[in-house]
């Protein structure tokens, strides 16, 4: 297991490095002068040039990449161009909001998707199974921003049950949770469908296994067989799926953060790209990439711990 963990960790470092190299290459291919965008129309040529130097844009790209990467290892992600605040601080201020959003999205998808998948598997071939199947595909097919806008119009604008914008008062957990309901539903709704489909397929396979038949033969209650003996095995592919899903949820988070005017890393990166605020783009993307890779690493380790066949494959 230790050797497996070590190999996965090495792979994770390589993935992060490659991702950052790609990001650096991409942002320098994008047209637009960050100094001109940042300083606006009233800045002189000298001011723009001074800012370019401050941002390190006068140096070759590979030097900039090396400086960024060596700094990142010590936790120094550079400084934000205009406010001159440390990028790490700016990103860390926003990260909890995105993590809360993703955790909320996962909660919705797990809390609804797993029972639905189990139910559909147990009721295989019934109307209930077909309805769950159709609903699952429907929520997968509808883009998250469409869900976000309709949920907002119904529950915030029309019914006024829930807030439309913001993330709630800091320190007021109830207020923050209320502000989380709609955006997290928008982020997680599509994943309810994915998870329901995945759990159903796995459950159908497991429910045909020998040990389940044996359990039934012993007359154990069906709920016990489903949730205790079948689901614990059938859930494994879902753990892996959720690891990948977090990456997709990070993308959906951008829409949710814009539509619900929530703070968060997604919106931070979006704004930073528009303003060519390169230190912020690279810093924020590094943090989210590391986060994504760590979550996948964790998911792989969990699956590896539970299933020896996976360990032997790497």
């Amino acid at each position: 297991m230790f050797s497996y963990a070590l190999k996965r960790l090495g792979l994770s470092v390589a993935i992060v490095s490659l991702a950052m190299l790609l990001l650096f290459s991409m942002i320098y291919l994008v047209p637009g002068d960050p100094a001109a965008v940042a300083l606006g129309p009233r800045a002189t040529d000298a001011m723009r040039e001074a800012l370019r130097i401050k941002m390190g844009l006068d140096q070759p790209v590979w030097v900039q990449f090396w400086n960024f990467f060596t700094g990142a290892w010590t936790g120094d992600l550079g400084r934000e161009v205009l406010s001159d605040r440390p990028v790490a601080q700016v990103v860390m201020e926003q990260l909890p909001y995105t993590l809360a959003l993703i955790a909320g999205g996962i909660s919705w998808s797990v809390a609804i998707g797993i029972p639905l998948g189990c139910w559909a598997a147990v009721k295989r071939g019934s109307w209930a199974d077909r309805i769950v199947g159709v609903l699952s595909v429907a929520v997968i097919a509808v883009p998250s921003f469409v869900i976000a806008i309709y949920a907002l119009l119904v529950f915030a604008v029309s019914l006024r049950w829930l807030p439309a914008i913001g993330a709630g008062e800091p320190g007021d957990l109830g207020d923050q949770l209320t502000h989380l309901i709609l955006p997290s539903l928008a982020v997680g709704l599509g994943w309810i469908g994915y998870i329901a489909r995945m759990v159903r397929a796995s459950m159908l396979e497991v429910l045909e296994a020998q040990h389940i038949r044996t359990a039934r033969a012993f007359g154990l209650p069906e709920n016990l067989i489903t949730f205790r003996y079948a689901l614990t095995i059938a859930i494994l592919p879902t753990v892996t799926l959720l690891g990948v899903g977090i990456g997709q949820m990070l993308s959906s988070a951008v829409f949710a953060e814009i539509v619900f005017a929530r703070p968060g890393v997604g919106k931070l990166v979006y704004d930073a790209i528009l303003t060519r605020n390169y230190p912020l783009v690279t810093g924020a993307v590094l943090v989210t990439t590391v986060l994504f890779v760590l979550i996948n690493l964790l998911a792989d380790l969990i699956v590896g711990a539970l299933d020896p066949r996976v360990r032997s494959r790497l």
């Binding site: 047209p31 637009g32 940042a38 300083l39 915030a156 807030p163 005017a261």
Partner: protein
Amino acid sequence: MTKTTFDLSRRSFLAAAGAFGVASTALPRAAVSADGSVLTLRSYSDLQILDPAFRLSLPEDDIIRSIFAPMVIPEAGDTWAWKAIAVDSIEQLDDLTVAFTLKDNIGFTDGYGQMTAEDVKFSIERIADPAMESPYAGDWSALKEVEVKDKLSGLIHLKNKFVPLWNTTLPTPASCILSKKAMEELGDKITTKPVAQSGQYLLADWQPKQKTILKRNPDWAHEPGGFEEIHIIPIEDPATAERGFEAGDLDYTWTSVSSLPRLRDNPPEGAVVVEKPSLAYVWLGINQENEALTDIRVRRAIQHAIDRETVVDAAYFGAAKVGNGIIAPGLPGARDAVTYDYDPDKARALLAEAGVSNLFVTLDILNQSERLTAAQVIQANLADVGITCEIKQNDSGTFWTLGSKDGEYFMNLQLLLQRFSMQPDPSWATVWFTPEQVGVWNWERFDDAEYKALHEQGLVESDNAKRDEIYTKMQNIMDESGSYVFLTHEAVGAIHRDTIDPGLKPNGESLLSEFKPA
């Protein structure tokens, strides 16, 4: 021993869901400012710099003016005027001298004592100082020095007559007064943590990307701010802000121009829709140094090919009127008409005379829905006279550098749909089209010596009738260059609760300190 297992039955799930629904309806959300003490409004960007010398956006201007007392601010209402804030009196003694006296009891927070004329001298000269490299140094370009007469009084000496001083320098954050002692101790520019605040409000809290909270300054001894607290929520997307308003989360927000007709015809309950003329100007620019467009007959053909009325109607859903230049109505130099008309036959004739057929041009625009609609109508107009036009959409980071001489694209730039905004003095509009601005912000590469001379003349002419003549002539010259098709000044839309009285400049920009309960 008994074992309990979790059993989620359909009945228990439905019961729980139903209970949640009932609980939700039983507890409708309270309005944000139910007791009238808190004003919640939207700004289009979060704050980044609170230094009057380095501010970046209008929302920052508004906050800076509220927390660092300015000498004067623009007056809320429908006509451009100013109102004294930190000064007891201020007057122009002659063309080169302005005398001021501060109010006697304005203090700085953090123990920095009373505001004095020495602080005024420091604050103004700091912006004008070339070593500071303030982008706003031009506001005080005519400054010679500030002379301190006594503790509260002084004289602002100018090198030359400077008419925009009263329109676009003093009523901006360029007249905000900072504590000399505090700034010398700080030794740098103010970023997001203000020191020695002195205004009607104080910055109490900044939650990045989420909220800025201003609280009434308890030590402000003059006309107080209208609310105990002002909560400013940064929301870039106007549609999101409109939904936030309709959901009861905001008391005031700007709206998009395209939403104005809908809101005007069907305002939410308890809401008031405001429409104000804008100082912005939108035009189709034509790069006169691009190889395909060097012949003035081709450029003039494009002017005659565009149906400006249809372009503006389509892009703004009837909420904006056609504009006739760069200077907005109400200011000296605002024109009633342009010198070219919509005449496709004339356009075709000019193209034929120039020997041009099957012309292909590109039109660069910012990727916004209004611009795209306008561009599509322009594309159809041009097709009608035999010009094929390809629309190129750009994100803001790319768009704002397209015509820069530091880039590689400026000579390939052909047509562009452009929008600038201005302060309430015509020189603010004309300055961007001078020869010095070629390749900076003058992307049409329009270069006219007479225009430049008239611009200089306008800066020192205080007679409004004469200024009107000067600036009208300048726009006529722009017309004659064939490089401009003026489209609109847009409109500014806002929506607010009927329980508040928003403090708005004549062009609809907000003045936080002037918002009051209705």
